[in-house]
Every structure is written in C-alpha cells, then in structure tokens.
C-alpha cells in the first residue's frame, strides 16, 4: 500500500492530532469535545473509507476507531493501517459496544487496544492517550 498523502510525518509528530472514526455522530462529538478542551486537534470520519482517506492525508498521532461502520469495518481499517509503511506505527484504539471475546482477541492480535463503550469511555481513552502522548490531558483554559 502506498501513501496517497503529501503531508510529512514530522508534522504529525509535532502536532498532536487524533483521528476519530465512528458512524455515531454523538460519540464523535463527545470525544471531540474532550480532546478540543485539551487543545488536541481532531479529525472526524463517519465511515471506514473516510477514515482511511483522512489517515493517509493527515497521518494522526492516535486513531480511535469504531468496529461497526459503513463502507468497511473498523478492524479492516486497522489492518490497512498496520500494512502501510508510513502509518503502521500509529497507536490504534478500537472502541465498540460489542463485548464478544472474539472481537477483543482479533483487536489485540492486530496490535490495537480494545476499549468498551461504557460510561467511562473518556476515562479509558484519556488513560491510553496520556500514555501515548506522555502528557496529562487536562482541559486548558
């Protein structure tokens, strides 16, 4: 897979950018609101193709991907990212309401992290992202 994006990897490492892919607008809105409060840039995609397109165009620091989306599956997106030379190191967080162990195993086998959609969704995302960015995520005034 060759990259279709012209952006340099350096830019993506300097600017903390999160790509959120979920067909549920409310979920993306909530997470976007949280990241924006912490001054982190957010790209939002509502289907798998769009997510891939955005990732290639503007390589993100972290991708947060829903499993069940139109125009492709979130796990397929993860596979594409993992097989792209430029993007394969991108941390992937898979969020889903699905509690099937098989899904969890599949997610983990792809080197992604599995996050259950619960009331502590932000708490879980923040925990992972703080570890990735190595800075505490607190809302800045």
């Amino acid at each position: 897979m060759t990259s279709i994006s012209g952006a340099t990897p350096a830019a993506s490492t300097l600017v903390k950018r999160v790509l959120i892919a979920d067909d549920d607008g409310a979920v993306t809105a909530a997470i976007t609101e949280r990241f924006k409060a912490c001054r982190i840039e957010v790209d939002v995609a509502h289907d798998a193709m769009h997510a891939l397109f955005l990732a290639y165009k503007n390589p993100p620091s972290v991708m947060i991907i829903d499993v069940w989306m139109p125009a492709g599956n979130g796990l397929a997106v993860c596979e594409m990212i993992r097989s792209d030379d430029r993007l394969k190191e991108t941390p992937l967080l898979v969020i889903t309401g699905d509690s099937e162990e098989a899904t969890r195993a599949r997610v983990e086998s792809l080197g992604a992290e599995f996050i259950q959609k619960t009331g502590e969704l932000w708490a879980a995302i923040r925990e992972r992202c703080e570890a990735i960015f190595n800075v505490p995520l607190v809302p800045s005034e």
Binding site: A26, I31, G97, L110, L121
Partner: protein, 666 residues
C-alpha cells in the same frame, strides 16, 4: 466343518473317513456315524456268538467225557452180545451126544459175556439141560417166562422175547433130533442207550438251535441297531434344530415304542419351539416397532433440540445485540453528562450540577444492568469467560471508584476505601471482581440514609486470601431474609420498604461473578445497624488459589480432574502470556496457572483429558485463525488425571515439577 472324532480302533478311523465323505451332504449323518458305535455293537455280537459256540463246545466236551463210561460199557455189552451169538453159531450143528463137556464150556463162555446174566439150555421138554450163572434168577425168570406164555404142546413158547431174556432156537438137537432151546438172560442196557440217545439229541439240538438262532439273532440285531440309528438321527436332528422328520421304526418292540414316544416328544417340542419362534418373532416385531417409534420420537426431540438451541442462540445474540445497541447511546449520555459536569459546556449552576449527577448515575446504573443482563445470559449458556490473573486490589477499586463516588454523591453518601497493610495481590478477573464490588457498593449506597458512610475495606484473611468488605450503615437485613437474598430477582421486604430498587438481579450476578473468581460472598447484618457484605477471593499464591479452586469444584460435585501442561509453540514474537490467551476462550471451571519455569498448568473437571485437550486445541486453532495466525499455537506437553481429593497436592506438584516427569501427552 468336519470334526475329527478319532477313535482308537482301526474301524473308528474308517468311520471318520466315511463321515468326512458324507459331511458335505448331511451334517446330521456325519454326527450320527461318528457318534453311534454301530460297528462296535456288531463286533460285540460277534464276540457273543464266538463265546456261545465255545461254551457249546465245552458243554459237548464235558458231556462226551461224562458219557464216555456208559458208552464204553455199552460197547462192551454189545461186544458181549456178539460173543453170545457167536457162541450160538459155534453150537449150531453140534450133536448133543457130544455136547456135554463141549456145550458146557461154550455155555460157560456165553454166560461169562458181560451182557449176559445167565445162560440156560433147555431140551424140547423144557427141562434144563445145562445151567450157568445165577441159577436162582434164571429159574425165576424162566418161570415167569413160562407162566407168561402158554405152555402148549410145544412146551415153552419163548419165541417172543421177555425183557432181559433172549431165547434162541438153538441149533443143538438132542438125540431125537429135537432142538434145544438156549435161554440167555441179558443185562438190561436200555438205560445206557437212553442216556446216550438223550446226550446225542441234546448235542444235535444244541448245535441245531445255535445254527438257527444265530442268523435270526443277527437279523434282529441288525434291525435294532438300525432302529437305534434312526432314533439317534432323529435326536440329533432335534438337537441341531434341523427340520423334523418322524423316526420310523417298524415292529412292536421297546425301541419301536421308544421311537413313538420320541416322535411324540419331538413333535411337541417342535410345536412349542415353533410357538416360541413365533412369540419371538412377534416380540421382535414389537421391539422393532417400538424402536421405530423411539427413533421417530428421538428425531422429533432432536429437531426440537436444534430448534431450542437455535432459539437460545438467537436469544443470546439478541440480548448481545440489544446490549450493543444500548451501550453506544448510554456512552453518549454519560459522556455528555460528564462533559457538562466538567464545565466544558460552560459554568453550571448548583442545581444543574446536581441534575447532571442524576443523569450520570442513572445511565451508569443502566449500563451495569446491561452488563449484568448480558452476563446472566452468558452464564446460562455457559459461554462466559474469565481472565484471572494477579491483580492489585487498588487497581480493582480504581476502576470503579469514579462511578461509585458519583453514585454516592447523588444521595449524599460518603464512600471510603481502606486497604489494610499486608493485603496481598488477588488472583482475579479485574473487570468481573470490580463489577461484583460495584454491585454490592451501589446496593449499600442505595440503602444508606443521606449522610451515612459506605466503607470498602480490603484485608488479608487468616488463610492468606483477600477479603473485600462493603460495610454500610443502612437498615440491615433480617436473618431469615439473608438466605433468600441471593435468589434471582428477589428483593427483600426491608429493601422494598426502604424503596430501593434493582437489588435482586445485581446481587445474584454478584455471587456468580465472585464464583467465577473462585471466591465466596458472606453477609453479616444487624437490623438497625447495617450490613457487611464480604467477598473473599484467592490471593496470588498458588496454594491459596488451588485451595479455592478445589473448594469451588467440591461445591459443584466434581469427582475427577484432568491436568495438562501447556506451552506456546516457539514462534517469532511469541506471546509469553499463554494463560491470558487461553483465558479468552477457556471454560470458567478450568484453572490455568502460570508455572514458575514457564508455560501453564491447566486443571479442569473432566473424566477424559483427551476430549478437553482436543477442544482446547480446536478453540486455539480457531482463535489463531481469527487473528490471522499471528499468535503462537498452544502445545500440550503432558496430560494426567487425578481425583478431587488428591487434586491440591497434584496441582501444586505439577506447578513445581517439570512436565517431563509427568505422563507424556499422546
């Protein structure tokens, strides 16, 4: 095929050969010939005949020996008679004139013959001229002879013989030329002759009877043996279940009667056997009918079972789908509530803040309900999985704490946690134990009056396990209601009076979640003072874990355990966490303990390790396939079984010792 009845006799061999020749045509004949000693009977008969002839010979010899005396005597007497007649011949033509001395000598010779008692010479006047032998007896005999016969002008008419007296017309004449008569008293030989005649007749009769009786006997014997033979054939046929043929034996002897009796018996036997066969056939037919009925019923049941399984599957999928559908909106509600609560949507008034708390609590309650609901379904279907590993109690509590604090804040209840020094790490599924504690704590908060405290205390028990107590200052539970507390969907009266909801399902699933962690839940409560719910789970110590495991198996009446030593096959990027990987598909009843020297020791309630091993490898293969083969495959190094009583020792031993010293996996 032909069985070789080797008899020791020469004839026996021939019999077997003959039987072999016939074997192909009639097995009954073969057996009859080999078993019935017909030839032997003939030989016996021959012996009897021989003995009879010998006996006859002996009898004849004895008779001859016995009769030899009388025979010789008779011969001698005959010889005597001959001598007498010779003497008479010598006398013929002699003249009396010269007779005197000469005649006297001849008469003496005659009288001396053995068969002659006396000899008397009479003249024509019947006067005794010469007398020899017993005169007295001669005179008496002569007198009786004279008295018995008319004495005519011819004097003595003795031409007709008197017993024992022979009168010869003597050739002698007196001077006048008149003949003399010679009267001889003969000895009586009739007894000897009769004896000899009798003996001869007996001898002849004996031989004759023997000659006549032998063929008749042989003929009869032949008939008997063939009768016996056909009777034997009949019996063999009967014994071998061959088609019945009546035994035909002619005559009216015992064998014939026996044959008739046999025929009757055989026909009755055959009749009852036929009845039996018929009854059997009817029975078999009935069995076949019933079997068919059963088969149909079974097939029906199987179809119903499949339908039920499909229904269960559908129901499970449905609840899972529902849960999935619930989770996303619930997450959105929670997220925005907390966004607002955190002031990201602008400053909130105190009132608004309080309302947001209610929204958050309600949505988190709903989320827990969804989780409990899902887990209950999974538990029922036996597909709930558990991932037990060494976990700090703080990590368990950290995870649930924000939710708990928010929940407590809505009813002005304070939550506190106390982790006693020396509390060991727990060997638990963090998420499941967390939910169990959360359920108990949320219940405690619900029942606590505003301003009360709920304390969560972690400590080490006397046995080295970890206890997590949820202590409240609520109304308490009556002792008789404690036992009913864990019943599904049941709420205590006290609880209902206190107007608290959602107690039943939560508490029930709590106990199941604790059970999955090899733990127990205990309640102590005092009306008016409060309740203490204590969860005890194993600490991260092999002995404690195994103890808890064995106890939980005892509760489920397990008798035997299977043991397996597992390792991950060496592969690049090999995942060292074999136990964690197995946990994603292992049954909750099975225990997977990491061994200090690497790999995993698995224990599980099973009669045959083989089926368990195959299932595990199959599941592993499926998972490995689902993840694109990235995971190293499991390797079973060894297997074994043990009883529940020896389980503790065996598991602990199995952890420490290398699998090579255990039984090798096939």
């Amino acid at each position: 095929m032909t069985r070789s009845h080797t008899t020791r006799t020469r004839r026996g061999k021939r019999t077997v050969v003959a039987a072999r020749a016939q074997a192909a045509t009639d097995p009954v004949d073969e057996l009859a010939l080999t078993v019935l000693p017909r030839q032997n009977m003939r030989r016996k008969l021959g012996r009897i005949v021989l003995v009879t002839i010998l006996a006859q010979g002996v009898v004849a010899a004895v008779a001859l020996t016995t009769l030899q005396g009388p025979w010789r005597e008779a011969k001698r007497l005959d010889h005597g008679a001959t001598l007498a007649s010779l003497a008479v011949d010598q006398l013929r033509g002699q003249r009396l004139a010269s007779y005197n001395i000469f005649a006297e000598a001849i008469l003496e010779r005659i009288a001396n013959a053995p068969s002659v008692q006396f000899a008397t010479l009479l003249d024509s006047q019947s006067q005794v001229v010469l007398q020899s032998g017993s005169e007295e007896r001669a005179r008496r005999l002569l007198q009786s002879a004279i008295d018995g016969r008319a004495v005519g002008e011819t004097g003595l008419a003795l031409a007709a013989p008197v017993d024992g007296v022979v009168v010869y017309e003597s050739p002698l004449t007196d001077i006048s030329g008149a003949p003399f008569r010679l009267v001889l008293g003969m000895k009586d030989l009739s007894a000897q002759r009769a004896l000899l005649d009798g003996a001869a007749a007996l001898f002849v009769g004996m031989i004759g009877a023997g000659l006549v009786a032998l063929p008749i006997g042989l003929w009869r014997f032949q008939r008997w043996t063939s009768s016996l033979h056909s009777l034997h054939r009949g019996i063999r046929r009967l014994a071998m279940d061959a088609p019945l043929q009546p035994v035909t034996v002619s005559g009216e002897d015992e064998i014939a009667y026996l044959s008739i009796a046999f025929n009757e018996m055989a026909s009755k036997l055959t009749a009852s056997r036929n009845e039996l066969v018929e009854a059997n056939r009817v029975l078999e037919q009935r069995v076949a009918e019933r079997t068919e009925d059963l088969r149909i019923a079974n097939a029906k049941l199987e179809r119903q079972n499949i339908t039920l399984e499909e229904l269960t599957e559908t129901a499970l999928r449905f609840t899972d789908d529902v849960a999935h559908e619930f989770r996303t909106p619930l997450a959105v509600i929670s997220e925005f509530a907390s966004i607002l609560f955190d002031g990201l949507g602008g400053e909130l008034t105190a009132k608004q803040e309080e309302y947001m708390r209610f929204i958050s609590s309600a949505s988190s309650d709903l989320e827990r309900l969804v989780d409990d609901f899902l887990d209950t379904g999974k538990l029922r279907a036996g597909v709930l999985r558990v991932d037990r590993r060494a976990t700090r109690v703080e990590d368990v509590l950290d995870r649930i704490w924000p939710m708990l604090e928010m929940r407590a804040a809505t009813t002005q209840v304070r939550v506190e946690r106390r982790i006693q020094p020396g509390t060991p790490r727990a060997y638990v599924d963090r998420e499941k134990l967390g939910r169990a504690v959360l359920n108990l704590a949320v219940n405690a908060i619900k029942f606590s009056p505003p301003g009360a405290r709920v304390v969560i205390e972690a400590a080490r028990t006397e046995t080295g396990a970890v206890s997590l107590s949820v202590i409240d200052e609520g109304p308490g539970i009556a002792p008789d209601e404690v036992s009913a507390l864990f019943e599904r969907f049941e709420q205590t009266r006290t609880g209902r009076d206190a107007d608290a909801k959602g107690f039943g399902l939560g508490l029930n699933i709590t106990r199941e979640l604790v059970r999955l962690n090899l733990g127990q839940v205990e309640i102590s409560s005092e009306i008016g003072k409060g309740s203490v719910f204590t969860i005890t789970v194993p600490s991260d110590d092999a002995a404690v874990i195994v103890d808890s495991y064995v106890r939980s198996l005892r509760a489920s009446h397990t008798a035997r355990l299977g043991l397996m030593w597992i390792d991950a096959a060496q592969a690049e990027n090999a995942d060292a966490d074999v136990a964690g990987r197995i946990a994603t598909f292992a049954h909750p009843d099975d225990l997977y303990l990491p061994r200090p020297s690497g790999g995993v020791l698995a224990a599980g309630p099973t009669e045959s390790v083989g089926g368990w091993r195959d299932r595990l490898l199959c599941e592993d293969a499926k998972r490995s396939h689902a993840s694109g083969g990235a995971c190293p495959r499991l390797q079973i190094l060894a297997t074994d079984t043990c009883t529940l009583t020896e389980a503790r020792e065996r598991i602990l031993d199995g952890l420490a010792r290398a699998p090579e010293t255990q039984r090798r996996a096939a």
